[in-house]
Amino acid sequence: MNLFFFLMSILYGLLKFLHINFIPYTWDGYPVGLWIAYLIISAVEVILVFAIAMIVVVILVYVFRKYMADLQNRIGPNRLGPWGTFQLIADVFKLLQKQDIVPANADRLAFKIAPYIVFTPVILGFILIPFGNVSILNLMVTNFQYTVLFLVAVMIVSPLGEIIGGLSSHNKFALYGALRSAAQDIGYEVPMMISIISIVILAGSYSANAIVYAQRNLPFIIPEILGFIVFFLAMIAKQSIPPFDLPESGSELVSGFSTEYSGMRYGIFYMANFGFMALASFVVATLYLGGWEGPFSVIPGLVWLIIKAAVFMIIFLLSWIALGRTRVDQFLNMGWKYLLPLSILNLIISTGLAFYVGGWF
């Protein structure tokens, strides 16, 4: 009998989390069941988000390679699968087969966990993006009041992984990569957060949903154009792609913080890079282009979001393919002397906007 109640409580919990409340009885008296149901739901969601993130990464890597080849008058991957679509899968298998090399003098534990520290925020970031209208279908994994704050907190973690990886691998180039990563991180993080704060002021909420809802009339890119520029440059720096790929800087520091990494550990860095590109495009689309909001209600919000994010992905890719690298002092100059004042100016403007015409947003 107890077992029956126990199982039923789990079922009840599952249905409750899916917003299906047809069971007339209240099973709240069985908290264990609810708890287990919550665990199951969380596990499923985590796996789903992980899968979605990986699929996005795979698609993005393929698009990157093909598009880069396109711009360089080449054909690009074309051997494996139709139009070379399975190339990345083959690459992953190749990397998995490789010997796992840890340098003799490296700090082994730090060296081994560094790729995961870089990669985890990508997955964590994806749970915070509202992929559609919450009131219709809950496509947002974690919907709580301080989404944007948490998002910022999550994204700060990944440079830590780069620093740990660089410092632990006992290599001078990796050390320089780590130091540059640290310098770059504090260079763009402050203006980025200030520009996020101005969005929060304008929307009146930390919740990503509320921010999207606030953009139903006018995307924030128009009143917050300065903030957008700051945030966009910060996002490029965050992904460490050219022109701000200082921690890696292939032609100067061999491969920067990831010099000593090989095999799948390097593969994780590589995928984290693309994962961040996808995440950054979704974040920018959500914060500045109105997320899933779109003019025609026939088209679901998810499609709008993906279209908006794809535009940014192409821009990021173009920047990667077409631009050279800045020097580290030039980047820091830009961050502290131009981006920071710009973002503060933007904060002042958006405070004024919120004060006078705040209700309209």
Binding site: D70, L71, Q72, N73, R74, I75, N78, L318, A322, L323
Partner: protein, 157 residues
């Protein structure tokens, strides 16, 4: 001299960034220039200096090619014909020495073709001289007269 004489300032420079990105962006619509080599064959010009070919009917065994060869790829070897063959063909090579070539060390420098007084040695557009066994790389004079496909068929051993 030209307008690119001075380095641009920030405004022109940011315009330059956008122009550069746009230039690269437009390249995406241009045709590809690479070729898929196993499927699409590359064209070789007539003069392409590929493998050494030897016309044994013309070779007089003067050893000039051995003398000029910069890295000892060409070595003269005696190659005796059976009596009847010799009778039939009237080889001009009385000493019966012919060049043999190690295709793995040949640098395709074309000097042997240039120096050959009778035009017996030529370098022709034949580049598939890849071998899996080192002993196969030294070509004897009759082998030098044949094409790769005649020598090895379609697969290399």
């Amino acid at each position: 001299m030209t307008q690119s004489d001075k380095a641009p300032g920030p405004i022109a420079g940011i315009g330059g960034i956008i122009k550069g990105v746009w230039t690269i962006f437009t390249q995406g619509f241009k045709p590809k220039v690479t070729k898929q080599v196993p499927e699409e064959k590359l064209e070789y010009p007539e003069r392409a200096t590929g493998r050494v070919f030897l016309n044994m009917d013309a070779c007089i065994g003067c050893t000039l090619c051995e003398q000029i060869c910069p890295n000892g790829t060409i070595k003269m070897v005696t190659f005796a014909f059976s009596k009847k063959e010799e009778f039939d063909k009237k080889y001009p090579n009385k000493r019966q020495i012919f060049p043999s070539v190690d295709v793995s060390t040949c640098t395709h420098c074309n000097l042997c073709e240039e120096i050959c007084p009778t035009g017996a040695i030529t370098l022709e557009a034949e580049i598939d001289e890849i071998h899996f066994r080192r002993e196969n790389t030294r070509y004897s004079p009759p082998m030098l007269a044949k094409k790769e496909s005649e020598l090895w068929g379609n697969d290399k051993k």
